[in-house]
Amino acid sequence: MTALKPLPHDSAPLHVTGRAPYVDDIPLPANALHLAFGLSPVAKGRIATIDIAAARAAPGVVAVWTAEDLPRRIDVSPGAHDEPLLAEGEVHYAGQAVFLVIAESHLAARKAARLGKVEYEEGTPILSVEEALAANSRFEDGPRIWQKGEAAAAIAAAPHRLSGSIEIGGQEHFYLEGQAALAHPEEGGGARVTCSTQHPTEIQHKVADALAVPMAQVRVETRRMGGGFGGKESQGNALAVACALVANAFGRPAKMRYDRDDDMVITGKRHDFRVDYEVGFDEAGRVRGIDFTHYARCGWSMDLSLPVADRAMLHADNAYHLPAVRITSHRLRTNTCSATAFRGFGGPQGVLGIERVMDGIAHALDMDPVEVRRVNYYADARLPGAPPEAGRSPEYLGQDKGAGTGQRFAGALAGAGKRFGADHSPPAPMAEAQTTPYGMEVTDFLLNAMTRRLLESSDYAARRAAIADWNAESDVLKRGIAFSPVKFGISFTLTHLNQAGALVHVYQDGSIHLNHGGTEMGQGLNQKVAQVAATVFGVDPAQVRITATDTGKVPNTSATAASSGSDLNGMAAKAACETIRDRMADCLAGLHQAKPSDVVFEGGAVRIGGESLTFNRAATLAYENRVSLSATGYYRTPDLSWDRIAGRGRPFYYFAHGCAVTEVAIDTLTGENRILRTDILHDVGASLNPALDIGQIEGGYVQGAGWLTTEELVWDDRGRLRTHAPSTYKIPACSDRPGIFNVALWDGENAADTVYRSKAVGEPPFMLGISAFLALGDACAACGPHYPALDAPATAERVLAAVKRARG
């Protein structure tokens, strides 16, 4: 089936030759205007005076706008109407836009933005979790609390108890392409916007609001992003709106792109969290009751903080069945940039909380941390009819040329094979259904079997013993090894977002034009969806023309987020293609006095009975017989119901799983550390494209490990971000990837009826980076008898501090 081939990214030849255009590469008319924001250097204050005379007089400057110059109140928030485009009297964080420079060139705009003289009556900013709690500065009236069972009583009754806390830092997206937007004025008002966004419909909506025109007068196009990772879900609104307003006011195209430092100062990042916990457990390490308190630093505006904090709560169980649990979540408003979506969307913080607890229990009981995890796992799905773990033979996907690269396999570490096909009956109900803290039954859990397989393939037990021996002999350096699993819920938790549309045209020559609501940010979504379309029509994917995402073609799209891109858009495209295919089949069946069900689309041909014609000829025939060869497709995820206030329901269509074993080394004198080896086994259902899926896993792991190691955001005591450039904010470099890096796909199908039984892959593997963090903790623990309680990110400085704690 075409849908399952490991084809390269459709843009790869353009990427490597420099011919793939991004927003900033689009040639502009000579009269184009360029924009830059003047930013507040203070985190909280009232604007006393604004003197923009010098900026207005600077070379190349066309105009400078403050909030008063805007035609109306302009909001650029994704929903809460709490983000004015330009500050209105008050500033709420260092980096907030105060005025807008409109100039003849990017450089002229940037230079003039430094010439605005704004005086502030500075207030005292609320920066930390503690300050926000003390001031009761928060979103929503109070903390959100979800519970299942009686956690306090269960903890009190448990044979063992443990409490603690972990600090979890935020993360800058560091998409290589900074935020960028370009707007052309349109006849009759409105705008045509080209921008680097994961959410074209929201850009359309915000631009229409700003221009006070109906959405139909705004068209937004996104061909590709140079990385998104959640950072282009809401953070591009301000640029697109500013460009559209300027384009309308001057009748000239307007472009805005943030300089890297501005980008890092202005835009939101992953929420930093503190997670406090108290747990009661038995001698076997089994959790009896647990109480989590999440403190999320949300920044100055609401943005997407509520669903992010919700998702942290939704993943507070990760892979573990918690009989009694209480989760309290504080969403704190602070005078910092507004924290936003970032791959995992709060999930990683929730997962890290309970992974810390699992490690704490293991240390307290002197157990292997993997055993503690396994005794707490949910039960695996019941899988009738198939022998356990009867896998296929390995299909080798990558080369192995010694150290440094590791291997890629699909199906190498096989599970029970294709057991979930539509022909099978659904799994029998559990004797006692296990439910998540929010009351959803877990019926498709795979991690017991996956863990068994990964521990075996990574030689975990023997290596753990060898590391202990090595550590006993090694004075300065210590090694650590750790396993961590992830179970990640797939679906937008705002239920109405779980819908998608597609538009497909088959032209009379048989070429296929594909459009859907998802956006391409590097994940290969377009290629996957093209493979789906090609599969329906039985043609080569190269025959499917992938086009830019365009609000004029597919309306009312959801952000490409929540890992949902191929689930939603693949299904919508499949529906559209099937509509056209069925019309063609009807037509051809009529011409051949056959049944439509006897018309087969395969291998670039269409077969009817004994006859065969090319797909292209079939398209021509259908056209000549006056068959419509254009169709829309639509999909909405079934079986969802969710009450976010009560914390009850079925927010997810299914779960995706993965697990990793990571080995690290630390220097106990300086805290310097390295990842030495990583083995991953990940569940993507029946992969739509194993090469692209493994790419997401490798990249997600390294990004997750970066979050928890070198990537440290530092604000000073006045609330100014000090790490606002790659010189000070350190994402992983090439040599930071694991020295040995083995990634394998679990060979199975999605139990849920997704597109060709595949599973989402964007976010779940990010959390496998947690195994690197846990391994660093394990290495610290080798230095002494005490629990090292490593905080994140585990910079050399924090590792050294943990070594000292371990020594006591």
Binding site: P8, S11, A12, H15, V16, T17, G18, D24, D25, K111, F174, L176, E177, R224, M225, G226, G227, G228, F229, D259, R260, G398, K401, A403, G404, D475, V476, M521, G522, A665, D667, T670, G671, E672, L676, I694, E698, G699, Y701, V702, Q703, T710, E712, V714, R722, A725, P726, T728, K730, I731, P732, C734, S735, D736, R737, F741, T795, A796, E797, A801
Partner: protein, 508 residues
């Protein structure tokens, strides 16, 4: 200012202000948008281009490369990696085959870095890519692509000839060797478009805002008349004054045409580096005599940064976190200065007076540094959040004179017993611990005359607080800086007595 060079094989002339960057010129003037702006400060590598002069081909960051710096060179951008008929370069093909691109924005820079390394026969791919950030792939597929392309033949079109020099045959320099711009050659001679600075031409720097001397003599005379001018070596620091500080530099001199400042000479007991020698060449020259120093430089910036940055620039800018000064201070290096015709030598530790203030008079400039290299017990280490392409939180350099019990040549694992050698003298210097790079006097005093034991090192480390009151910033806290500095003193003993101390040297 007019600058002549070749671009993707075609001769080319650019008329631009002297601080116009190659990146802006490529994208905005020539519409060559394959070269990307990722950070505009030389840290991400999305703008990487290949620059060839007589000393060979190297990767440089176009975002902090001023046009006058490429006078006479050959530039190849990602658009020029493919052949005249559109055939792909082997690294481009393998990047596709091995799924080395996802979002694609870093990819052009990565393709250029890989192609330059391929041309030069390098196979140390992690080092080659140390200056190319990728946020999508986790790098493994990119390294697989680089490995797969290793054996492929270098395409003919990759062998550029600089405008100023002869066509190069055989193309590749020795594996692993990449020279610096203006390496020992006078390619200003063949590039008459620029002001040469000869006195009968008046002061070209004043007219155009940019001056490109061909020798230290020319520079010396001119700089006396323009003591407020900015001297640009590799522009890895000054470049940011322009791209991030948005400063107008006024009168500028580009020193990369001064062949006599780019020489490395053997002198008794040491090497004399001209101020214009790039860090890449310093690393190569020190690899054999001072491997610890060379290993530290391997973590100094990235390939692109080391290919541009000069040792003179790193010293002259007086940064408290420059990585050469602590090493040079511990080694007892001598700095060479010149003002007009007046030459002056100075112990390098005396050059750094206070934060932002050096012992450099008006019109005086650094011409070079002489580094003693007979120092088997010399060690230098930097501590930063990331191994590659990061700025030191702490950089510590150590040179102990070990005598007796076999001295430095016969150090043994202390667990084997026997008398340790005596520390006859100690030179210990740190960067990142004060407003200037400086020696640790109290630590040195605590070491001198003591047996070389771990206990001695610990006792000396306890005195770091007398020498330094470091600051807390985004790189590290004051407390960590002191602890890590103490850790390095212990590491020195462990390393010299045979323990494994480098997490980068062990494997799973």
């Amino acid at each position: 200012m007019k600058v002549r060079f070749s671009l993707n094989g075609e001769p080319c002339e650019a008329e631009a202000p002297p601080t116009r960057t190659l990146l802006d010129w490529l994208r905005e003037t020539r519409g060559l948008t394959g070269t990307k702006e990722g950070c505009n400060e030389g840290d991400c590598g999305a703008c990487t281009v290949m620059v060839t002069d007589e000393s060979g081909a190297r990767a440089l960051n176009a975002c902090i490369l001023f046009l006058p710096q490429i006078e006479g060179a050959a530039i190849r951008t990602v658009e020029g990696l493919s052949g005249p008929d559109g055939q792909m370069h082997p690294v481009q093909r393998e990047m596709i085959t091995h799924h080395g691109s996802q979002c694609g924005f870093c990819t052009p820079g990565i393709a250029v870095s890989l192609a330059v390394a391929h041309l030069n026969g390098r196979r140390d791919h992690d080092a080659v890519l140390s200056g190319n950030l990728c946020r999508c792939t986790g790098y493994a597929p990119i390294v697989r692509a680089a490995e797969a392309a290793e054996e492929a033949e270098v395409p003919d079109w990759m062998r550029d000839a600089p405008v100023g020099g002869e066509a190069r045959h055989g193309g590749a320099t020795e594996p692993g060797r990449e020279g610096g711009i203006g390496r020992g050659t006078d390619w200003g001679e063949a590039a008459p478009a620029l002001g040469t600075g000869a006195s009968d031409e008046g002061d070209p720097g004043e007219a155009s805002g940019g001056y490109r001397p061909r020798s230290a003599d020319e520079l010396a005379g001119w700089y006396l008349r323009h003591p407020d001018a900015v001297l640009v070596g590799g522009a890895t620091d000054v470049g940011l004054w322009v791209t991030k500080g948005l400063r107008d530099l006024g009168t500028v001199a580009f020193l990369n045409g001064c062949a006599d400042l780019a020489r490395i000479e053997e002198v008794p007991g040491g090497l004399r580096f001209g101020a214009g020698v790039t860090m890449t060449r310093v690393m190569e020259a020190l690899a054999a005599p001072l491997p610890s120093y060379a290993a530290m430089i391997a973590r100094y910036g990235s390939v692109q940064v080391r290919n541009a940055a000069t040792i003179g620039g790193n010293i002259a800018n007086g940064s408290p976190i420059g990585d050469n000064p602590p090493a040079l201070i511990a080694l007892g290096a001598t700095l060479h200065l010149r003002r007009g015709d007046e030459m002056r030598d100075l112990a390098i530790e005396d050059f750094f007076l206070d934060y932002g203030r050096q012992d450099r008079r008006e019109g005086e400039f650094v011409t070079g540094v002489t580094v003693p290299v007979e120092a088997p017990t010399f060690r230098v280490w930097k501590i930063s959040k990331r191994f590659d392409q990061d700025i030191s939180a702490v950089c510590g350099a150590f040179l102990l004179d070990l005598r007796g019990a076999g001295g430095a040549d016969n150090l043994r694992d202390p667990r084997e017993g026997g008398d340790p050698p005596l520390i006859a003298g100690a030179r210990v210097a740190f960067g990142g611990m004060a407003g200037v790079p400086k020696r640790a006097a109290a630590v040195e005093a605590a070491l001198a005359g003591q047996p070389f034991t771990r206990a001695t090192m610990a006792a000396a480390a306890a005195r770091l607080g007398e020498d330094f009151t470091p600051m807390s910033d985004m790189r590290a806290s004051a407390a960590y800086r002191l602890e890590a500095a103490a850790g390095l003193l212990t590491r020195y003993h462990a390393d010299l007595t045979g323990a494994e101390t480098d997490v980068r040297r062990i494997t799973a």
